[in-house]
Symmetry: C2
């Protein structure tokens, strides 16, 4: 059987309200992960692509965070509404969505480098 | 800041005893993930390498399962005692430990293909 062509890790970490770093899933309902899983199933992609629950990916300040491997695409501020486009453009089409990419200089800084790209 | 040179996802999924597929963390204590995290810290590798908690990686029959990205190395039947060698050989040395590799024909078969490699 083939490996996953894309393995999507969705941060489902929940911290107490008011934590200085925030967290990716304040409500703890894993709705973002569920949205990826449902979208993959609807597109019959679940065999080759997996949307996985992940613990803290340590990019809390730019979250909700999603990392797609083996491509190594880090997306931040991901909303449930972004999921269909991520599936179509990135997973199926192989194109990175610039608006969602956490810039490399921000990664692993624990928020010390502000993300300069404002979302519409 | 650099990306993670290796991002280690450790399956911490727990199922009820007797489940037909088993699970990677029957005790639910996340001891395997903790062992990776402690080993990385002891080797001062925590900045560049992350050991991440993951939900079910869907290779339950070959677990406890660990996948290392972006290299795409799938290790199965991983024990806490294997962690130091994985860190030294694979993470630091860049060498795959054949004994631990889940063979490609087994991946994503939900256990339909027996893993023919007996661990010592």
């Amino acid at each position: 059987m083939p490996r996953f062509t894309s393995h999507i890790f969705v941060c489902c970490n929940t911290r107490a309200p008011g934590h200085s770093r925030g967290c990716c899933d304040p409500s703890g309902d894993e709705s973002l992960r569920d949205a990826f899983q449902a979208a993959l199933k609807a597109r019959h992609l679940s065999v080759d692509v997996r949307a996985n629950r992940a613990g803290c990916l340590d990019q809390c300040e730019y979250g909700p965070t999603v990392v797609i491997y083996p491509q190594g695409i880090w997306y931040g501020r991901v909303r449930v509404e972004d999921v269909p486009r991520i599936i179509e453009e990135t997973i199926v089409g192989g194109r990175v969505i610039d608006r969602l990419v956490i810039p490399d200089p921000c990664l692993n800084t624990k928020g010390a480098v502000p993300w300069p790209i404002a979302n519409p």
